[in-house]
């Protein structure tokens, strides 16, 4: 989901950056609020950021013979809220753009939208929707669908910038989604499984900070 440096035309790059800006601004406010109102949740912010940092460093093989990334932003969305994740996700993306030439500064806005806004947003919504029905399933599906949503967003962004000369942007979307989606399904399942594992560990050792996650109360 890292659109490489320079691989969105300037107008598109600027548009996505402008769209990402308010999310990051709201995210900064949300982090400040967490630190002020719930100082005991400070380490949770660290856990959310560090988890995304680890997972997005892993390039995993998929049954399609390609490899791709988990995003690791789903759990953070449950722990500290999707708004805060837009900032933490951006930090991860900045690190990779500057040090690894993975993604880029010009495409940072577009990549923030896919990995740090849409992914956590979908993860949070799915979790909220399914939590009362089955907690582990909600955790699993929120991470898995958040991961897939990120990659479908990237495919949309590329299709809008590079429509197929014959079949328009729908044809281009089919091509880009074809590259990402199939490869991503097993990785999304993997990220879902790992998330359940991670939440189990968190609940076992850090229950007081997570009160609300499993009881249906409001988190962050």
């Amino acid at each position: 989901m890292h659109i490489a440096e320079g691989f969105l035309p300037p107008a598109h790059a600027a548009g996505w950056a402008a769209l990402a800006l308010p999310f990051v601004a709201v995210g900064l406010g949300s982090i400040k609020r967490i630190l002020r109102q719930h100082p005991e949740r400070k380490p949770l912010l660290g856990v959310a950021g560090a988890y995304a940092f680890v997972l997005s460093a892993l390039k995993l093989p998929s049954v399609t013979g390609s490899s791709s990334h988990p995003t690791g932003v789903g759990i953070g969305a449950l722990l500290v809220g999707p708004a805060a994740m837009s900032v933490l996700g951006m930090v991860v993306l900045l690190f990779q753009a500057l040090l690894l030439a993975h993604g880029g500064l010009s495409t940072l806005g577009a990549n923030v939208i896919s990995m740090a806004v849409v992914g956590p947003g979908v993860a949070f919504a799915v979790f909220r929707l399914l939590r009362s029905w089955s907690f582990p399933t909600a955790v699993f599906l929120s991470a898995a669908l958040g991961n897939l949503a990120t990659y479908l967003t990237t495919a949309t962004q590329l299709a809008l910038a590079f429509p197929d000369p014959h079949s328009g942007w729908i044809g281009a979307f089919a091509k880009f989604a074809g590259i990402y989606a199939l490869t991503q399904v097993p990785l999304a399942v993997g990220e879902g499984v790992l998330s359940v594992l991670m939440v189990n560990v968190l609940l076992a050792h850090n229950a007081p900070q997570l009160r609300g996650l499993s009881e249906g109360g409001k988190l962050a």
């Binding site: 890292h2 490489a4 440096e5 320079g6 691989f7 300037p10 380490p43 949770l44 660290g46 856990v47 950021g49 560090a50 988890y51 995304a52 940092f53 680890v54 997972l55 997005s56 460093a57 892993l58 390039k59 995993l60 093989p61 998929s62 049954v63 399609t64 013979g65 390609s66 490899s67 791709s68 690190f95 753009a97 500057l98 040090l99 690894l100 030439a101 993975h102 500064l105 010009s106 990659y151 590329l158 590079f162 000369p165 281009a172 091509k175 880009f176 590259i179 990402y180 097993p186 399942v189 993997g190 499984v193 790992l194 594992l197 189990n200 560990v201 050792h205 850090n206 229950a207 007081p208």
Partner: protein
């Protein structure tokens, strides 16, 4: 809970193993990254497109790149362990 975690871990190992074994059996090799494939697709759709800005800095070679990815994972894992430990200790203090 312990059994559930163990079986989840086994599912993960199985998933990665299957992903390594099955494509190789089908004759695929290399496990090309999807981000790179998307860039190639752009070149097919718009052959005249040139990236208008280059990365400020690029890792010189695959070896250095893998080093930096390892550094990222290590930093992340270290911080993750630290923050989990901080919470665990605080909760212990609160109990006692």
């Amino acid at each position: 809970m312990r059994m559930q975690n163990l079986s989840l871990l086994l599912v993960l190992v199985g998933l990665v193993s299957l992903s390594l074994w099955w494509p190789a059996r089908q004759g695929a090799d290399g496990f090309a990254g999807t981000d790179g494939q998307a860039t190639e697709e752009i070149a097919r759709l718009r052959p005249e497109y040139e990236p208008w800005i280059q990365p400020l800095w690029q890792p010189p070679g695959a070896e250095v790149e893998s080093l930096l990815f390892a550094v990222q994972a290590a930093l992340g894992a270290g911080l993750l362990g630290y923050f989990l430990g901080v919470m665990r200790e605080r909760n212990k203090d609160a109990e006692s």
